[in-house]
Symmetry: C2
Subunit: 417 residues, 2 copies
């Protein structure tokens, strides 16, 4: 079977599976998740065999130690995947929820009801746990999943997807509820993202390059999880220790994630805050790159270029500048943001209100860390990513965001007037 045939036939099979899944009860979907958990727990050796092939290939290909670590499936990480599926099973059923209900004056009873999206294609890189996490979330929301992982983890991904697919089959759901494209040729991605007849949504999970390629070439709708170029603005007045602690948290707690802060803007009348924040970050090992204004006020600050403010470091580095006013801060944030997350620290509620309404990002905080942009923190449970889309879902994408709705109307043999 060549790659075109593989992608097409798997997408078609997933579409058929989605039609069956559409009417599967929450109980049946939960039984499939439970069967997946058992399959993973009883197949640790099989999974690790496949993973060790990927590890050997990765070593030969000269992958970095960090990359190899992301690839590695220890017993603990395999158990974590199983536990994750158990948690997904416990969430409320996102399907069949009545979002709106009215009876029109003519007697037509209208309901807006949540239903699955259909077939969700996931294009991802590296970490094999995505295979399990994504398939579990998609299944719980009644969607079939078409997986296309990176070549580094291909053997691990195939072994995991096979277990998940067999688990579906065991409980009487189609095995094609979980399909994986085994060829890692890039042509497969190009084809998959144009099969809008069979695939209802593409979720690219990976770097900015992958997201752009998918966005520019897909005819299937795309749920983007793009860059997190997050900004924090510190206003003229704020609680100093609170602000310092929150910004340290936003930069240092997990610098490699999309909700970590990258750019800092401080009001020129708040030199005290600027100096305290920067000294605190430096004490935590953060490299601070600043404009001349910042360098004139703080020690050990490297010069920042325009490009620095446009860079998602994902590292213990931050860019800093001084601004003349709230307006200037808003303009700077709007110029560099990727629309993911921003925060303002201020004691002035009016300034907070302006920042929140004038800036157009998925998540905006007043006196709280940017790190809160997270499905778990929002009380959604697991998430498949953080959407930087404007349509359909913005911010954390949990089970509810993996559904759509249909309108159901009923009446007593009613023609339109």
């Amino acid at each position: 079977m060549n790659i075109q045939q593989e992608v097409l036939s798997k997408a078609m099979r997933a579409k058929c599976a989605a039609a069956k899944l559409r009417t599967a009860s929450n109980d049946l979907r939960n039984r499939a998740l439970a069967a997946m958990v058992s399959a993973i727990r009883s197949s640790v050796a099989t999974i690790q065999d496949a993973n060790s092939q990927d590890m050997r290939a990765g070593e030969q290909a000269g992958l970095s130690a960090a990359m190899l670590d992301r690839l590695l499936l220890t017993e603990e990480r395999i158990e974590d995947m199983a536990v994750g599926l158990e948690q997904v099973a416990e969430f409320d059923d996102p399907l069949g929820m009545i979002l709106q209900e009215t009876v029109r004056p003519n007697g037509l009873k209208l309901q807006k009801i949540t239903v699955p999206l259909g077939v969700i294609g996931i294009v991802y890189e590296s970490r094999p746990n995505v295979t399990v996490d994504a398939a579990g979330l998609c299944l719980k929301a009644g969607n079939a999943v078409l997986l296309r992982g990176g070549k580094e983890a291909i053997n691990s991904n195939i072994a995991l997807a096979r277990l998940l697919s067999e688990a579906c089959d065991q409980v009487g759901l189609p095995g094609s509820c979980v399909e994986i494209i085994e060829s890692t040729d890039r042509e497969g991605v190009q084809q998959m993202i144009r099969l809008d007849q069979y695939v209802d949504l593409i979720v690219p999970r990976g770097g900015h390059g992958l997201v752009r390629t998918v966005t520019e070439n897909a005819s299937v709708p795309v749920l983007k999880h793009d860059r997190g170029l997050c900004n924090i603005y510190v206003d003229a007045t704020c609680n100093l220790p609170g602000t310092v602690a929150c910004i340290n948290n936003a930069k240092v707690q997990r610098p490699g994630v999309c909700n970590a802060v990258e750019n800092l803007w401080v009001h020129r009348d708040n030199t005290e805050a600027l100096q305290a924040i920067i000294a605190d970050l430096q004490a935590s090992g953060v490299e601070v790159r600043g404009t001349e204004a910042v360098r004139g006020l703080c020690e050990n600050v490297l010069p920042a270029t325009e490009e620095d403010f446009d860079t998602e470091y994902l590292d213990l580095i931050i860019s800093a500048d001084v601004v003349d006013s709230l307006e200037a801060a808003i303009a700077s944030v709007q110029k560099f943001t990727s629309g993911h997350t921003e925060a303002i620290f201020t004691d002035d509620p009016k300034n907070a209100g302006r920042f929140i309404s004038e800036i157009d990002s998925a998540c905006i905080y007043h006196n709280a860390s940017t790190r809160f942009t997270d499905g778990g923190q929002f009380g959604m449970g697991a998430e498949i990513g953080i959407s930087t889309n404007r349509l359909h879902a913005r911010g954390p994408v949990g089970l509810n965001e993996l559904t759509t709705y249909k309108w159901v109307g009923s009446a007593d043999y009613l023609p339109r007037a």
Copy 2:
């Protein structure tokens, strides 16, 4: 200015206007709509001058009488546009609605709040009233609009858009809240649908060919208003006069619209219904095309091909077949539907439930006409179209569907644990 420059500069200007509109109050947006109404009412002669240029060009180009009629702007039709804008102004403000509100255990207060989508690009054909209707709805929902109408109506569209833009300017909103691309070169559409940096949504309004071209080439998200290949299934038992009346309504009331029925499926045990429905449709001037089974039971039925069942007639023609069971009906509907609207007529609530849950369309009715798929009928007020998307909006697209949301979090200087 060449076309690339025109499209790019207008998209950029619309983006800047959208940033201003984002914080415009409902009152200010309503004043802009009122200024548009005044401008239209005081410029009937100007609008008709521009329209008569289009009419002359259309006559010279040999447009059909029907096309010329769609193009024509009578005084009454111009007044209708003004009245439409007045109605839009009266709708509730779709912005700033709190969709969800929680306080997390850690004290983070989270709100999910409706905000504008940004810049909406409308690609449309023929009727110049779309210029006004679309711009009015977009503006009420806080969006700037980038219009690109068909060449037949270009002079009318430019004249109308200019009035709308000037009205924005009069009340202190940017004139670029309404931008129109004056070049009718197709290259302009291709460029516009790939400017995802400036345009947030494309709404193609036109035939299936236009919708496919936009879907296949856009990098901007698309809200499709695609074909309405609507199906009706008549079950083994039903109220005969009620069913006949509803199906007549679904086919005859306005055969040229997307919610008119195109395919009829009747259970083999309900010959009485089949014969009554077909005789009734024929009496209303409908051409009935049927399979051998239908032709054996009814008179004056032309033979139907497979292609007929795959055709959106938009005319007084219907395809009909007999099915052996509910399951067969569901399979037939799923095979041919465009996912827009279907209806079942039955006295058996269990069969209605299965039809509704197993079929995956935007709108499904039990004992009601397919003609109800309409923003006005749903109580939404005006609509910009009927979405056949699965993401973001399904079915009628009113003001609420022209918005997105942002998450706003506030706390008392809270780092993430």
